[in-house]
């Protein structure tokens, strides 16, 4: 579903919330009477400060080697469970540092997405909806970029730090329009070509940009589309990014922080996530590969979860210390979990039937476990939820109403799956 300016798309429509937000901001700046702002508008202002951090454990992390261990059972594998900072809550021994911070986390152990395909599971967990032909919904990052990011932010609202290559990921925004897509930082590197070539003078660059802007404006007066708008926005953001290129440079961080986060890629990427959140990026996603352990699940999880434990704990500490955790929702998730059954190659396979995620920060009740699986972890026995419930919950945590609607191609579409609702037990 493309975003088109001829069809009263979401791009053209001013939602009640964004209207209030802009008016409120205007009132605050113009009159200086922010204390007289209506309560609903005040809430809107507060919402504007909310941020989201997603740690994406790519490939499907095993719930049994992380949040829902089943030691001494035929499905439990060789790792044991350990005590955490919350009496009665035990997690895998692969997470000793995270265990000490359990009082900041909530665990959800009762997800049944019934989806064992990587691509479909990925889409489902990012959108809260099943992938159906001909209908695409925006990812959480794009929703956050649209509804939570300040209009004139110098940084993109949705930044994805990932191993491998970088680039622009406009597809995640679906009908919201490509300007709410992700900026992908391949291997945590700054976007390509954001340094001014030495052969180009500052004045020369300014003159070139003025000409580009003039031509863009003239073109947009007659042929404006979401794509041309995204192009213009991206260009403007790129110029601002060039000014603030250092925000992507984790070597500016103290050496002790680099050591604390870990000298591996995930350590660098989580430290970069901290920098981006501090710089005001609304939605930051860090991908960690690779958990798709059909073979030697235990050795690979020891390696991967060990990295995650170090980097995640350091990041969580810093967010808490700075006070940012209060208004930043943190979600640790995958496309699915892994089978309780251990296969012939010491592996675990894809499993969407009974698995877990972890949450922290804005709107989340800390130190709780919601939902339960049976003794062997083969089925949810209490509080079963699916991805739609998760999406509702995320939106509630950051002050968005999941029952609000987008308008896309003339149709009103509820932001979150109308058949689901938020998981109240997780909400503070």
């Amino acid at each position: 579903m493309r975003c088109s300016y001829s069809c009263r798309s979401a791009e053209h429509l001013v939602t009640r919330r964004s209207f209030l937000g802009e008016v409120a901001a205007g009132l605050g700046i113009a009159t200086g009477f922010s204390g007289m702002v209506l309560p609903s508008v005040s809430a809107e202002l507060e919402r504007k400060q909310r941020q989201i951090l997603v740690i994406w454990l790519n490939g499907g992390a095993s719930q049994l080697e992380t949040w829902d261990p089943k030691p001494k059972t035929e499905t439990g594998g060789p790792f044991r469970s350990i005590e955490t900072s919350v009496p009665g809550i035990r997690i895998s021994e692969l997470l000793p540092l995270t265990a000490l911070r359990m009082h900041r986390l909530a665990l959800l152990r009762s997800i049944n997405t019934s989806e064992n395909d990587h691509g479909k599971g990925n889409y489902l967990m990012h959108t809260g909806r099943r992938l159906v032909p001909g209908q695409e919904y925006p990812h959480l990052g794009s929703v956050a970029a649209k509804f939570l990011a300040p209009e004139r932010s110098p940084l993109p609202g949705y930044i994805h730090i990932q191993p491998g290559g970088g680039g622009i990921g406009g597809k995640e925004a679906a009908f919201l329009g490509p300007k709410y897509g992700s900026l992908n930082l391949g291997n945590g590197k700054a976007p390509a070509n954001t340094a001014r070539p030495e052969s180009l003078s500052v004045s020369g660059a300014s003159a070139r940009d003025a000409l580009r802007s003039h031509l863009d404006d003239r073109f947009a007066r007659s042929r404006r589309t979401a794509e041309t708008d995204a192009y213009t926005t991206t260009y403007e953001q790129a110029l601002q990014l060039m000014e603030r290129r250092e925000v992507f440079d984790v070597t500016k961080e103290p050496a002790r922080d680099l050591e604390r986060y870990g000298t591996h890629d995930l350590g660098r990427h989580c430290l970069l996530a901290r920098r981006l959140l501090e710089a005001g990026t609304t939605f930051v996603k860090v991908s960690h590969s690779n958990y798709d352990t059909h073979n030697e699940n235990f050795d690979f999880h020891r390696e991967q979860v060990g990295e995650f434990d170090q980097s995640f704990s350091a990041l969580l500490d810093d967010l808490a210390r700075s006070g940012r955790l209060e208004h930043t929702l943190v979600v640790v998730m995958s496309e699915f979990g892994r089978t309780p059954r251990i296969n012939a190659n010491y592996g675990r396979d894809h499993w969407g039937t009974a698995w877990s995620i972890a949450l922290a920060g804005a709107g989340i009740k800390p130190g709780v476990v919601v939902g339960k699986t049976n003794v062997k972890g083969t089925a949810v026995v209490d509080g079963q939820v699916h991805a739609g419930h998760l999406f509702h919950t995320y939106l509630r945590c950051v002050g968005l109403d999941p029952t609000d609607t987008y308008e896309a191609n003339g149709r009103a579409i509820q932001i979150a799956d109308p058949t689901a609702s938020a998981i109240e037990e997780l909400l503070a």
Partner: protein
Amino acid sequence: MNAPTAVEPADPGGAPATSPIEAEPERTHVSKELKHKSPLIACRFDPKGRFVFASAEDDTVQRWDLETTRQSALVGHESWVFGLAFHPDGETIVTVGGDGQLIWWPATAESPEPTRRVPAHQGWARSVDVSPDGSSIATCGNDRHVKLWSFDGGELLFDLPAHTAPVYRVGFDPSGRFLLSADLRGSVIQWDTGTGKEARRLDAAKLHEYNTGQGVDYGGVRDLAFSADGRFLACGGLIEASNPLGAVNTPAIVLFDWETGQQVRLQRPKEALKGVVWGLRFHPSGFLIAASGGSGGGYLLFFKPDQINEFFKLKLPNTARALDLHPDGLRLATAHFDNVVRICLMRPKPA
């Protein structure tokens, strides 16, 4: 890692007799199956050849009397047991596991109970061996340490933290003067057991790959074996890991000249076969036996040191995870995912 002398078994399931007879590897066949209720991990014959022991995914070690097939359990670890080794007199078995514990057990007792336990490693302890004179025990683990313990008192003699990756295997050379430790990256360190000093390094890095696409380290030395004449050291593992997370790799052996420390050759299956060499033993007569398991199923592969490919292979009914050679030199034990220890006899099938 002492190499046995081939001797005639008194009967197909019993203790060895004394008259040497020749193994016929091309006639190898499954002669017995011993079934547990949980997938098996590691296996060893005791030095007297009366029992076969196998660890299981239920955290136990199972013992079968080869003659009567009577089964007993050794219960005491809090995780899977990855390594088993015996004092040369056969009276004591030592085990290590995912709980980091090193445990001593009476090997022949009616109901073996732990007689000593030592917290040996942080995280998994992965391998154990006893020196040929029975005086010391070597262990290694994911904490990258190699440790040498006194057998009698359990005191730590040396803590050797020279590896930069999890250490997968330890083994004494036949003289007992040296200890070898081998890790995930294929680094093999030779230690002087008298001084605890590093004597030499051997390079089996061909058995390791870092897969950039998947972002994982994979491979490593899964087993070590010395030839009876002390001429060769073999390291088993895998090569050609195009998809580590999907078990797409080829079993392989790096063969070293022990005197020079140089690689003699890389040995591999003649035909395409997916798996890992989980177990390696040199037969006293000079050929090398490898047990492979993985996505291609289970196999016994028989190599001559001067050849790249096997001269015989036997397809096993299930993926194999470990191998040992009976003191009679005629029987092999393999531990399997389908809960079974298989005893293969390197002799013609009975008529």
